[in-house]
Symmetry: C2
Subunit: 258 residues, 2 copies
DNA sequence: GAGTGGTCTAGACCACACT
DNA sequence: GTGTGGTCTAGACCACTCC
């Protein structure tokens, strides 16, 4: 088959790509658009390679290469003998796929507890609006919370401030947040159909303000690791701004360079 | 051909792998061991896919998959129409592959200047010895330097302290360091046959000590981003410990999460 | 035009999971 | 056993680079 020829199910769904890319990239874009459209939910299996190949009228190898890239980019998860599944934050083995904070002593202090401080509707300021691609004054949800060590006495480690577009998270409430077990991004998937796909972080060292110091139980001016995160869903669309302050006396932010 | 059967050039070079892995992984391990042995230098081309396939008596597709993974892991760089080349730090388009520090204003302040403060031979303390896999008291090279903005007046941004195993970097001197143009890791490749392949970083927020504050031109106690990096060469062998203090008023450490 | 990596195909067989 | 993803092969053709 001529990879340049448009035909069959492929062109029917009209991929918005420049349309002059390798066939497997067109397949990839098509699958991505179906993921975005919600054709398969997080955790569900997508059709098998042979079935996709038959439907799209390409060879299995071409489907394979498309799926390979999607798996690499954490959109899909392959499981030999079982199938290929839509990635989800709800059942990550690691829990918290995006959290790079790690205890210095890996033996101690495993999971962190959450304590919700605040969850309210506010109007977006200039900075939040700009980051989330909204207009100043648009409705946003503001959440503040602490992460604390599990052992007693619980010690605060992270102070998070989170902003979400109001339109996407209409029915999100303090009760829902407090009663949800598992990662917050799992709740977003299950209840709001918003799937975090990618994020950018900017790290800085800052001094704790009076309020921050009180909440984190440190002295005013204590150096804290400021982590500003912008999370994206499909199509490079930003859907969460997060400003985290980390105490790093007994934890650190780990990163791998290759 | 039975992939389990050992034969041809493959087994002659005796890969130390568990030997019961897919054929393409055996090829990958073989190529990796040749890279480690220095059979091809950084920047050089390795044999073409067809030639490798013929020599190793496997299909081109199998070689391709091995090379694909090596390219993905930044060991090799593919260039269509030209060949496949050994990755090098000397000619990175980005300069400084491992440096994640970025100016807040991307327009301003492009490259950073270096100022060498110190380069001397010392005996490894417990911490350095442990990190580099040496014995306490072994010879290590200690380097201290500043990175400063290029514009005038130059402003210090990073204070680096670097430790290297003395045996690997016998002839490294302050003169060599000062006169070298380009990334330090390029010098390590060219003069010492040490290629940095991977690194792990641990980030913290700390307060500037008196000495650090003086060198970085900030007040004592100013929050600084502490970046501890352990760099590895082939075979998970640590060959550099680095302790960097970053001023983050106008720069930040960027990270991408997927 | 010759050589290199990049794409696509078709078919065989292996490894794993479920039933 | 059946169905899934994973590996391997052989061959054709495309796209890019250099002569």
């Amino acid at each position: 088959m001529d990879p340049r020829a448009e035909g069959g199910e492929r062109s029917a769904s009209a991929p918005p790509t420049p349309t002059f890319s390798p066939l497997y990239r067109q397949i990839k874009a098509l699958l991505l658009s179906r993921l975005q459209a919600g054709e398969w939910k997080p955790g569900e299996a997508i059709p098998s390679e042979v079935e996709l190949a038959a439907r799209l009228k390409v060879s299995q190898g071409t489907v394979r290469k498309a799926v390979d890239e999607l798996a690499q980019e954490n959109h899909l998860v392959r499981r030999q003998g079982k199938g290929t599944f839509v990635a989800t934050h709800a059942e990550e083995r690691t829990q918290y796929r995006f959290l790079r904070l790690t205890p210095d002593d890996p033996g101690a202090a495993g999971r962190l507890r959450r304590r919700l401080l605040e969850c309210r509707r506010v109007r977006a300021g200039a900075e939040v609006a700009h980051a989330l691609g909204l207009r100043v004054g648009d409705a946003v949800l503001q959440i503040r919370r602490l992460l604390l060590t599990a052992e007693e006495p619980a010690q605060p480690v992270v102070l998070d401030e989170i902003w979400l577009p109001g339109t996407l998270f209409k029915s999100l409430s303090a009760e829902k947040l407090a009663s949800w077990r598992g990662p917050m991004y799992g709740l977003f998937e299950a209840e709001f159909d918003v799937r975090m796909v990618r994020a950018e972080e900017r790290l800085r060292a800052v001094a704790a303000s009076v309020d921050e110091a009180r909440l984190l139980a440190v002295a005013e001016g204590t150096p804290l690791l400021l982590v500003e995160r912008l999370s994206y869903t499909y199509g490079r669309r930003p859907v969460e701004l997060r400003r985290g302050l980390y105490r790093t006396e007994r934890f650190h932010y780990r990163n791998e360079l290759a």
